[in-house]
């Protein structure tokens, strides 16, 4: 009976459907995990977009893939691989940023690291002999099989990382917007940059566990970029970024539950749709304003 219920689809009675959604422990776990991940990705993503570190963020998500593959190969929990590799990846990125000669050299070095990560992931998958079960869920995400223990780990890491971000919020904002003035004002700009990369690594490791390594951007970048389009106010922007990430996660999980298509697809498409809508809205508003100004001048 429960198996049949999953594939029954929508009953078109919202209350029954909502009840259905919470009837299974795996779905409750998935919703809890999704909520934690969305909040963390919303906050760190907002700072990442502000700091123009989306390429570093993307590289960390690519590094998450060999992490998960290595963990499967060694018979360890996937979370160990995600957190371990993303943490190491953040250290490597911080090392690259520390020795950088120019922005171009930095992004080239990050790109090289990214290629190495993908190659390692492929190697680990090959070493697994035969098809690594669930390779596509490593890459594109799954909401099945999130355990209660996993939810606890996600929560503890998220609370610790977000606590750090909260304490450092203003100096981090200052260092991100105007590093030279912040440094002259006594803000430890380099230490903050290093700490932020670590938090970003943790954030990517968490998000990968829901969206898969390749679709981390759906939660980490797109809601944050949309929020930056909507408002230049920092507090409001962070709240919006979290709200959008939560909305696409919940909706994506619900849609995946009632259909046969994967959750990563829904979360990504929803956040992309929102971003396009907001961009289009901004362009349209600018056009309307220009037209109104012209009409005013003509009158």
């Amino acid at each position: 009976m429960p198996e049949a219920a999953t594939f029954q689809g929508l009953s078109w009675n919202p209350l029954t459907d909502l009840h259905e959604l919470f009837a299974y422990q795996f779905m409750v776990n998935a919703l809890e995990a999704g909520t934690i991940v969305a909040v963390m990705a919303g906050v760190t993503g907002w700072f990442m977009v502000l700091r123009r570190q989306t390429f570093a963020g993307h590289t960390l998500s690519v590094i998450a893939f060999p992490g998960a593959a290595a963990a499967s190969l060694a018979g360890l929990p996937l979370a160990v691989g995600y957190f371990g590799f993303c943490g190491l990846g953040a250290l490597a990125l911080a090392g690259i940023a520390g020795t950088r000669r120019s922005l171009g050299a930095e992004s080239a070095a990050i790109g090289a690291l990214q290629a190495l990560a993908l190659a390692l992931g492929f190697l680990f998958v090959s070493l697994y002999h035969g098809v690594l079960n669930g390779l596509d869920s490593l890459l594109f995400g799954t909401f099945l099989g999130v355990t209660t223990d996993q939810v606890v780990v996600l929560l503890v890491v998220a609370v610790a990382a977000l606590g750090l971000v909260a304490i450092a919020a203003r100096p981090l904002f200052f260092a991100s917007v105007d590093a030279d003035v912040a440094r002259a004002g006594g803000v430890p700009v380099n230490a903050l940059g290093f700490a932020f990369l670590l938090v970003l690594g943790l954030s990517v490791a968490e998000t990968s566990q829901i969206t898969g390594a390749l679709l981390v951007f759906a939660l980490l970048v797109t809601p944050a970029a949309t929020a930056h389009q909507l408002t230049p106010r920092p507090m409001l922007g962070i709240v919006l970024s979290v709200a959008l990430a939560l909305a696409v996660t919940w909706l994506g999980l619900a849609l995946a539950f009632f259909s046969i298509y994967p959750v990563g697809f829904y979360v990504t498409s929803l956040s992309f749709g929102l971003y396009v809508l907001v961009r289009a809205g901004r362009v349209l508003r600018a056009r309307l304003r220009a037209t109104a100004r012209l009409a005013l001048e003509a009158a």
């Binding site: 203003r170 917007v177 003035v181 912040a182 004002g185 930056h228 230049p232």
Partner: protein, 284 residues
Amino acid sequence: MSAAATSLKPQTGVPREAAVTFEDAAVRLGGRTIWSGVSLSVAEADFVAVLGPNGAGKSTLIKAILGLLPLAAGSASVLGRPPGAAKGRIGYLPQRHGFDSGTQVRGVDLVQLGLDGARWGIPIPGTQGRKRDAARVAEVIELVGATAYASRPIGDLSGGEQQRLLIAQALVRRPKLLLLDEPLDSLDLPNQAAVAALVRRICEEEQVAVLLVAHDINPIIGYLDRVIYLAGGGALEGAPDQVITSETLSRLYGAPIEVLRASDGRHVVVGEPEAPFVHGDRHA
């Protein structure tokens, strides 16, 4: 004229506390001496321009005052303390090329960062301290005349508007010393004069000493108290009319320099060699 030019010491008028003093100071960067034997004194509430060709070490001087670069020789005192010890009382505007048009940060938030950007913890809205901060931010934005556009994203503003907000940011903590590194660089001529007039007014109203690094003295000469001229690995300090002369600059460069006065009063410096120039032997 020549007697005045020979004097490298600041003129003694009404005795005022010195904001910045350098005694026989030198800075080396990567084994190269940028300048040496520099002695200068900036009095409180003085408006001083730092002039000289590219690479003469103008930004280096600012960084030495901030304590970001150590002195290789000599001594320095900033607001009565060693460089770097008076950070909270110095406003600094670094050399830059403006915010690009994508920068989605409001001017008012940028000014606010000048006040509390180095503080840890989350700001709690509605507290007394928060309201006092907001009032100070509004006051200093009014002072630079940026109220009309302070809540727009900084990337959407013109160079002159950005520069006014950045000056407000540097001023928000009521510094006693303001260091402005090429604030006029990307501005057109009317805006250069307007920002120079604003700095002069701030200097008097807020009783703050200002060091302004500039390429061209002409748009600002009417507002200045003194100039520091860096060239040839050394520096000269004095009133503009004493320093910007053929004789003084020729001696500083160690090469023939001619200063011409155009009919509209503009100074034209002819024969200025571009740095890197011969360093070191000037004092030998």
